[in-house]
Protein backbone atom coordinates (compact mmCIF):
# COMPACT_ATOMS: atom_id res chain seq x y z
CA UNK A 1 0.00 0.00 0.00
CA UNK A 2 1.33 3.40 -1.01
CA UNK A 3 1.10 6.03 1.74
CA UNK A 4 1.78 9.66 0.94
CA UNK A 5 2.77 11.74 3.95
CA UNK A 6 2.76 15.55 3.89
CA UNK A 7 4.87 18.28 5.52
CA UNK A 8 7.42 17.24 4.45
CA UNK A 9 6.09 15.31 1.47
CA UNK A 10 7.30 11.72 1.21
CA UNK A 11 6.00 8.26 0.33
CA UNK A 12 6.26 4.97 2.17
CA UNK A 13 5.08 1.45 1.38
CA UNK A 14 3.15 -0.27 4.15
CA UNK A 15 1.16 -3.44 4.56
CA UNK A 16 -2.61 -3.31 4.01
CA UNK A 17 -5.22 -5.73 5.30
CA UNK A 18 -5.81 -3.87 8.56
CA UNK A 19 -7.63 -0.81 9.91
CA UNK A 20 -6.41 2.75 9.32
CA UNK A 21 -5.73 3.09 13.04
CA UNK A 22 -3.15 0.33 12.87
CA UNK A 23 -1.36 2.11 10.00
CA UNK A 24 -1.27 5.33 12.03
CA UNK A 25 0.02 3.46 15.07
CA UNK A 26 2.86 2.00 13.00
CA UNK A 27 3.75 5.50 11.83
CA UNK A 28 3.52 6.91 15.37
CA UNK A 29 0.79 9.36 14.34
CA UNK A 30 -2.10 10.36 16.58
CA UNK A 31 -5.46 9.92 14.90
CA UNK A 32 -6.59 13.39 15.98
CA UNK A 33 -3.76 15.16 14.19
CA UNK A 34 -4.29 14.06 10.58
CA UNK A 35 -6.84 13.61 7.85
CA UNK A 36 -6.63 10.21 6.16
CA UNK A 37 -7.73 10.44 2.55
CA UNK A 38 -8.40 7.52 0.18
CA UNK A 39 -9.59 8.09 -3.37
CA UNK A 40 -10.60 11.66 -2.53
CA UNK A 41 -12.60 10.71 0.55
CA UNK A 42 -11.97 10.94 4.28
CA UNK A 43 -11.84 7.61 6.10
CA UNK A 44 -12.09 6.93 9.82
CA UNK A 45 -9.70 4.90 11.95
CA UNK A 46 -11.60 1.62 11.98
CA UNK A 47 -11.92 1.45 8.18
CA UNK A 48 -9.93 -1.43 6.64
CA UNK A 49 -7.31 -0.62 4.03
CA UNK A 50 -6.02 -2.95 1.33
CA UNK A 51 -2.58 -3.48 -0.19
CA UNK A 52 -3.72 -1.88 -3.45
CA UNK A 53 -4.98 1.30 -1.73
CA UNK A 54 -3.24 4.65 -1.92
CA UNK A 55 -3.57 6.83 1.16
CA UNK A 56 -2.72 10.45 1.84
CA UNK A 57 -2.02 11.32 5.44
CA UNK A 58 -2.39 15.08 5.80
CA UNK A 59 -1.41 16.83 9.05
CA UNK A 60 -3.89 19.35 10.40
CA UNK A 61 -1.53 21.18 12.75
CA UNK A 62 -0.40 24.62 11.78
CA UNK A 63 1.67 27.04 13.79
CA UNK A 64 3.51 30.29 13.53
CA UNK A 65 2.40 33.81 14.15
CA UNK A 66 -1.29 34.08 14.86
Amino acid sequence: MKVKLRNPDREVQLRGGRPVGSVLDELGISVDTVLVIRAGELITREMPVRDEDELEIRPVISGGAP
Binding site: S30, T33, E41, L42, I61, G63, G64
Partner: protein, 330 residues
Protein backbone atom coordinates in the same frame (compact mmCIF):
# COMPACT_ATOMS: atom_id res chain seq x y z
CA UNK B 1 -18.31 3.92 12.33
CA UNK B 2 -21.76 5.47 12.10
CA UNK B 3 -23.03 9.04 12.09
CA UNK B 4 -24.45 10.05 15.45
CA UNK B 5 -27.41 11.76 13.76
CA UNK B 6 -28.46 9.55 10.84
CA UNK B 7 -26.47 6.31 11.38
CA UNK B 8 -25.10 6.56 7.86
CA UNK B 9 -21.40 6.02 7.08
CA UNK B 10 -19.24 8.43 9.07
CA UNK B 11 -16.39 10.38 7.50
CA UNK B 12 -15.00 11.93 10.66
CA UNK B 13 -14.75 10.94 14.28
CA UNK B 14 -14.70 13.61 16.98
CA UNK B 15 -13.32 11.68 19.92
CA UNK B 16 -13.89 14.42 22.47
CA UNK B 17 -17.60 14.26 21.67
CA UNK B 18 -17.57 10.42 21.59
CA UNK B 19 -19.21 10.87 18.21
CA UNK B 20 -18.76 10.45 14.49
CA UNK B 21 -20.57 12.24 11.67
CA UNK B 22 -21.42 11.84 8.01
CA UNK B 23 -20.53 14.77 5.77
CA UNK B 24 -23.95 16.41 5.94
CA UNK B 25 -24.27 16.23 9.72
CA UNK B 26 -20.66 17.21 10.27
CA UNK B 27 -21.39 20.43 8.37
CA UNK B 28 -24.41 21.02 10.60
CA UNK B 29 -22.38 20.41 13.76
CA UNK B 30 -19.52 22.64 12.59
CA UNK B 31 -21.73 25.57 11.61
CA UNK B 32 -23.71 25.21 14.84
CA UNK B 33 -20.51 25.51 16.87
CA UNK B 34 -19.50 28.65 14.98
CA UNK B 35 -22.94 30.20 15.43
CA UNK B 36 -22.87 29.33 19.12
CA UNK B 37 -19.49 31.04 19.49
CA UNK B 38 -20.73 34.16 17.70
CA UNK B 39 -23.88 34.33 19.81
CA UNK B 40 -22.36 33.54 23.21
CA UNK B 41 -19.57 36.05 22.87
CA UNK B 42 -21.57 38.71 21.01
CA UNK B 43 -19.04 38.69 18.21
CA UNK B 44 -20.93 40.35 15.42
CA UNK B 45 -24.29 41.83 14.53
CA UNK B 46 -26.07 41.02 11.27
CA UNK B 47 -25.32 44.46 9.81
CA UNK B 48 -21.69 44.64 10.95
CA UNK B 49 -18.99 45.00 8.33
CA UNK B 50 -16.49 42.24 9.02
CA UNK B 51 -12.89 42.12 7.89
CA UNK B 52 -11.59 38.55 7.88
CA UNK B 53 -7.86 37.89 8.10
CA UNK B 54 -7.21 35.40 5.29
CA UNK B 55 -3.98 33.42 5.12
CA UNK B 56 -5.00 30.82 2.55
CA UNK B 57 -4.89 28.10 5.21
CA UNK B 58 -7.69 25.79 6.28
CA UNK B 59 -8.91 27.88 9.21
CA UNK B 60 -9.40 31.26 7.57
CA UNK B 61 -10.96 29.76 4.44
CA UNK B 62 -13.29 27.51 6.44
CA UNK B 63 -14.38 30.54 8.49
CA UNK B 64 -14.88 32.62 5.36
CA UNK B 65 -17.04 29.85 3.92
CA UNK B 66 -19.21 29.65 7.05
CA UNK B 67 -19.62 33.43 7.43
CA UNK B 68 -20.64 33.78 3.79
CA UNK B 69 -23.19 30.99 4.19
CA UNK B 70 -24.52 32.73 7.31
CA UNK B 71 -24.99 35.88 5.17
CA UNK B 72 -22.57 38.08 7.06
CA UNK B 73 -21.10 41.09 5.27
CA UNK B 74 -17.54 39.77 5.21
CA UNK B 75 -14.51 40.99 3.27
CA UNK B 76 -11.26 39.04 3.22
CA UNK B 77 -7.90 40.69 3.78
CA UNK B 78 -4.83 38.86 2.56
CA UNK B 79 -1.46 40.06 3.84
CA UNK B 80 1.49 39.24 1.57
CA UNK B 81 4.46 38.35 3.74
CA UNK B 82 7.05 38.12 0.97
CA UNK B 83 7.96 34.51 1.74
CA UNK B 84 9.05 33.10 -1.58
CA UNK B 85 6.73 30.49 -3.14
CA UNK B 86 4.73 30.10 0.06
CA UNK B 87 3.24 33.61 -0.10
CA UNK B 88 2.58 33.30 -3.85
CA UNK B 89 0.69 30.06 -3.35
CA UNK B 90 -1.24 31.47 -0.37
CA UNK B 91 -2.32 34.54 -2.32
CA UNK B 92 -3.35 32.42 -5.28
CA UNK B 93 -5.51 30.22 -3.06
CA UNK B 94 -7.16 33.22 -1.37
CA UNK B 95 -7.89 34.84 -4.74
CA UNK B 96 -9.33 31.62 -6.16
CA UNK B 97 -11.64 31.20 -3.16
CA UNK B 98 -12.83 34.81 -3.39
CA UNK B 99 -13.47 34.47 -7.11
CA UNK B 100 -15.37 31.21 -6.76
CA UNK B 101 -17.53 32.55 -3.93
CA UNK B 102 -17.80 36.03 -5.46
CA UNK B 103 -16.46 37.46 -2.23
CA UNK B 104 -14.48 40.65 -1.74
CA UNK B 105 -10.76 40.28 -1.12
CA UNK B 106 -8.42 43.12 -0.17
CA UNK B 107 -4.67 42.69 -0.37
CA UNK B 108 -1.89 44.38 1.56
CA UNK B 109 1.63 43.43 0.61
CA UNK B 110 4.40 43.98 3.15
CA UNK B 111 7.22 44.38 0.59
CA UNK B 112 5.18 46.67 -1.65
CA UNK B 113 3.37 48.69 1.00
CA UNK B 114 5.80 48.70 3.92
CA UNK B 115 9.16 48.01 2.27
CA UNK B 116 10.17 44.75 3.94
CA UNK B 117 9.45 41.04 3.84
CA UNK B 118 9.26 38.62 6.75
CA UNK B 119 12.46 36.63 6.02
CA UNK B 120 14.44 39.89 5.94
CA UNK B 121 12.68 41.15 9.06
CA UNK B 122 13.63 37.97 10.90
CA UNK B 123 17.29 38.42 9.96
CA UNK B 124 17.63 42.17 10.54
CA UNK B 125 15.30 42.91 13.43
CA UNK B 126 15.64 42.08 17.10
CA UNK B 127 12.48 39.96 17.08
CA UNK B 128 12.07 36.35 16.05
CA UNK B 129 10.57 35.72 12.63
CA UNK B 130 7.22 34.60 14.05
CA UNK B 131 7.10 37.57 16.46
CA UNK B 132 7.66 40.18 13.77
CA UNK B 133 5.21 38.35 11.51
CA UNK B 134 2.56 38.40 14.24
CA UNK B 135 3.22 42.07 14.99
CA UNK B 136 2.91 42.93 11.29
CA UNK B 137 -0.35 41.03 10.94
CA UNK B 138 -1.98 42.60 13.99
CA UNK B 139 -0.93 46.07 12.93
CA UNK B 140 -2.04 45.75 9.31
CA UNK B 141 -5.38 44.12 10.13
CA UNK B 142 -6.26 46.76 12.71
CA UNK B 143 -5.17 49.63 10.50
CA UNK B 144 -6.94 48.28 7.41
CA UNK B 145 -10.12 47.75 9.42
CA UNK B 146 -10.03 51.30 10.82
CA UNK B 147 -9.27 52.89 7.47
CA UNK B 148 -11.87 50.76 5.68
CA UNK B 149 -14.63 51.47 8.20
CA UNK B 150 -15.01 47.86 9.32
CA UNK B 151 -16.71 47.06 12.62
CA UNK B 152 -14.98 43.78 13.40
CA UNK B 153 -11.78 41.91 12.56
CA UNK B 154 -12.33 38.14 12.53
CA UNK B 155 -9.50 35.63 12.65
CA UNK B 156 -9.44 31.87 12.17
CA UNK B 157 -7.94 30.91 15.54
CA UNK B 158 -9.27 27.47 16.46
CA UNK B 159 -9.56 25.53 19.70
CA UNK B 160 -6.05 24.10 19.36
CA UNK B 161 -4.58 27.58 18.82
CA UNK B 162 -6.34 28.96 21.87
CA UNK B 163 -5.53 25.99 24.11
CA UNK B 164 -1.85 26.17 23.12
CA UNK B 165 -1.76 29.92 23.80
CA UNK B 166 -3.42 29.47 27.18
CA UNK B 167 -0.93 26.72 28.02
CA UNK B 168 1.96 29.01 27.13
CA UNK B 169 0.55 31.91 29.14
CA UNK B 170 -0.10 29.62 32.10
CA UNK B 171 3.36 28.06 32.04
CA UNK B 172 4.78 31.55 32.41
CA UNK B 173 1.96 32.79 34.66
CA UNK B 174 1.31 35.73 32.39
CA UNK B 175 -1.77 36.57 34.41
CA UNK B 176 -2.58 39.75 32.53
CA UNK B 177 -2.46 37.90 29.22
CA UNK B 178 -4.54 35.08 30.68
CA UNK B 179 -7.17 37.59 31.80
CA UNK B 180 -7.44 38.96 28.28
CA UNK B 181 -7.59 35.69 26.35
CA UNK B 182 -11.18 36.20 25.32
CA UNK B 183 -12.70 35.17 21.98
CA UNK B 184 -14.06 38.72 21.73
CA UNK B 185 -11.93 41.78 22.40
CA UNK B 186 -14.03 44.94 22.38
CA UNK B 187 -13.25 48.01 20.32
CA UNK B 188 -11.78 51.14 21.83
CA UNK B 189 -8.97 53.68 21.68
CA UNK B 190 -8.17 53.06 18.04
CA UNK B 191 -8.42 49.29 18.33
CA UNK B 192 -11.06 47.55 16.24
CA UNK B 193 -13.12 44.77 17.83
CA UNK B 194 -11.43 41.35 17.37
CA UNK B 195 -13.25 38.03 17.33
CA UNK B 196 -12.39 34.34 16.99
CA UNK B 197 -15.50 32.44 15.85
CA UNK B 198 -13.66 29.11 15.43
CA UNK B 199 -12.52 28.82 19.05
CA UNK B 200 -14.99 25.98 19.73
CA UNK B 201 -13.79 23.73 16.89
CA UNK B 202 -10.52 21.85 16.71
CA UNK B 203 -7.86 21.97 14.06
CA UNK B 204 -8.93 18.51 12.90
CA UNK B 205 -12.46 19.79 12.43
CA UNK B 206 -11.47 22.90 10.46
CA UNK B 207 -9.22 20.80 8.20
CA UNK B 208 -11.97 18.22 7.66
CA UNK B 209 -14.53 20.96 7.02
CA UNK B 210 -12.32 22.65 4.43
CA UNK B 211 -11.55 19.32 2.75
CA UNK B 212 -15.16 18.14 2.66
CA UNK B 213 -16.34 21.52 1.38
CA UNK B 214 -13.89 21.12 -1.51
CA UNK B 215 -11.89 24.18 -0.46
CA UNK B 216 -8.42 24.28 -1.92
CA UNK B 217 -6.26 25.45 0.99
CA UNK B 218 -2.53 25.66 1.58
CA UNK B 219 -1.55 22.36 3.19
CA UNK B 220 2.14 23.22 3.28
CA UNK B 221 3.44 24.69 6.51
CA UNK B 222 5.17 28.07 6.52
CA UNK B 223 8.86 27.34 5.78
CA UNK B 224 9.93 29.71 8.57
CA UNK B 225 7.91 28.11 11.35
CA UNK B 226 10.27 25.29 12.36
CA UNK B 227 10.86 25.21 16.10
CA UNK B 228 8.03 27.65 16.79
CA UNK B 229 6.98 27.72 20.43
CA UNK B 230 3.29 27.53 19.61
CA UNK B 231 3.87 24.27 17.71
CA UNK B 232 5.65 22.74 20.69
CA UNK B 233 2.73 23.61 22.96
CA UNK B 234 0.33 22.08 20.45
CA UNK B 235 2.36 18.89 20.36
CA UNK B 236 2.31 18.74 24.16
CA UNK B 237 -1.47 19.21 24.21
CA UNK B 238 -1.92 16.56 21.51
CA UNK B 239 0.11 14.06 23.53
CA UNK B 240 -2.32 14.47 26.42
CA UNK B 241 -5.33 14.53 24.09
CA UNK B 242 -4.34 11.20 22.56
CA UNK B 243 -5.02 9.33 25.78
CA UNK B 244 -7.53 11.77 27.27
CA UNK B 245 -9.77 13.07 24.47
CA UNK B 246 -11.46 16.32 25.42
CA UNK B 247 -8.62 17.72 27.50
CA UNK B 248 -8.00 20.65 25.17
CA UNK B 249 -11.67 21.62 25.16
CA UNK B 250 -11.92 21.28 28.94
CA UNK B 251 -8.80 23.39 29.35
CA UNK B 252 -9.79 26.29 27.11
CA UNK B 253 -13.60 26.26 27.17
CA UNK B 254 -13.48 25.55 30.91
CA UNK B 255 -11.17 28.54 31.29
CA UNK B 256 -13.69 30.76 29.49
CA UNK B 257 -16.49 29.61 31.76
CA UNK B 258 -14.76 29.32 35.09
CA UNK B 259 -11.18 30.54 34.89
CA UNK B 260 -11.29 33.93 33.22
CA UNK B 261 -13.26 35.66 36.00
CA UNK B 262 -10.50 34.70 38.44
CA UNK B 263 -7.90 36.71 36.58
CA UNK B 264 -7.91 40.47 36.54
CA UNK B 265 -6.50 42.51 33.72
CA UNK B 266 -4.05 45.20 34.76
CA UNK B 267 -5.01 48.80 34.26
CA UNK B 268 -3.53 50.02 31.07
CA UNK B 269 -1.79 53.25 30.25
CA UNK B 270 -3.66 55.74 28.10
CA UNK B 271 -3.14 55.44 24.38
CA UNK B 272 -2.07 58.15 22.02
CA UNK B 273 -1.48 58.32 18.30
CA UNK B 274 1.87 57.09 17.01
CA UNK B 275 3.79 60.11 15.72
CA UNK B 276 4.75 58.19 12.62
CA UNK B 277 1.58 56.36 11.53
CA UNK B 278 -1.22 57.53 13.82
CA UNK B 279 -2.05 54.08 15.18
CA UNK B 280 -2.59 53.68 18.96
CA UNK B 281 0.42 53.36 21.22
CA UNK B 282 1.56 54.24 24.71
CA UNK B 283 4.74 55.93 23.56
CA UNK B 284 5.65 58.33 20.80
CA UNK B 285 6.00 55.56 18.24
CA UNK B 286 4.16 52.26 18.00
CA UNK B 287 5.93 48.90 18.14
CA UNK B 288 5.29 48.31 14.45
CA UNK B 289 6.91 51.58 13.36
CA UNK B 290 9.87 50.97 15.65
CA UNK B 291 10.32 47.43 14.34
CA UNK B 292 9.97 48.56 10.73
CA UNK B 293 12.50 51.35 11.21
CA UNK B 294 14.95 48.86 12.70
CA UNK B 295 14.48 46.46 9.79
CA UNK B 296 14.92 49.21 7.21
CA UNK B 297 17.82 50.83 9.06
CA UNK B 298 15.90 54.07 9.53
CA UNK B 299 15.58 56.39 12.53
CA UNK B 300 12.18 57.57 13.62
CA UNK B 301 13.39 60.63 15.50
CA UNK B 302 16.34 62.20 17.23
CA UNK B 303 15.05 60.73 20.47
CA UNK B 304 14.33 57.11 19.67
CA UNK B 305 14.83 55.69 23.14
CA UNK B 306 11.70 53.72 24.02
CA UNK B 307 10.12 54.09 27.42
CA UNK B 308 10.46 51.29 29.95
CA UNK B 309 6.88 50.35 29.27
CA UNK B 310 7.42 50.21 25.52
CA UNK B 311 10.46 48.02 26.01
CA UNK B 312 8.48 45.71 28.28
CA UNK B 313 5.76 45.48 25.65
CA UNK B 314 8.27 44.53 23.01
CA UNK B 315 9.76 41.85 25.20
CA UNK B 316 6.29 40.53 25.96
CA UNK B 317 5.58 40.38 22.28
CA UNK B 318 8.73 38.34 21.80
CA UNK B 319 7.88 35.66 24.30
CA UNK B 320 4.11 35.55 24.15
CA UNK B 321 3.00 33.44 21.26
CA UNK B 322 -0.48 34.77 20.78
CA UNK B 323 -2.51 37.82 20.08
CA UNK B 324 -1.54 39.62 23.22
CA UNK B 325 -0.25 42.65 21.45
CA UNK B 326 -3.75 43.38 20.31
CA UNK B 327 -4.48 44.74 23.75
CA UNK B 328 -1.02 44.99 25.20
CA UNK B 329 -1.15 48.72 25.49
CA UNK B 330 -4.61 49.06 26.95
Amino acid sequence: MRCRRCHGDAVIEIRRHHAAFCTEHFFVMFRTQVEKAIRRHQMMAPDDRILLAVSGGKDSLALWDVLLDLDYDVTGLYLGLGIENYSDRSHEVARAFAEERRARLLTVDLPRDYGYDIPTAGRRGSRSTCAVCGLSKRYVFNRAALEGGFDVVATGHNLDDEAATLLGNTLRWQTDAIARQSPTLPAGDGMVKKVKPLHRVSELETAAFAFLRGIDYVVEECPLVAGNTQLRYKEAMNTIEQTSPGTKAQFFLGYLERGMPLFRSEDRAALQACESCGQPTTGRFCAFCRARAQILGERLSADPEPSDRATAEELSDEVLPAEIYDRAVR
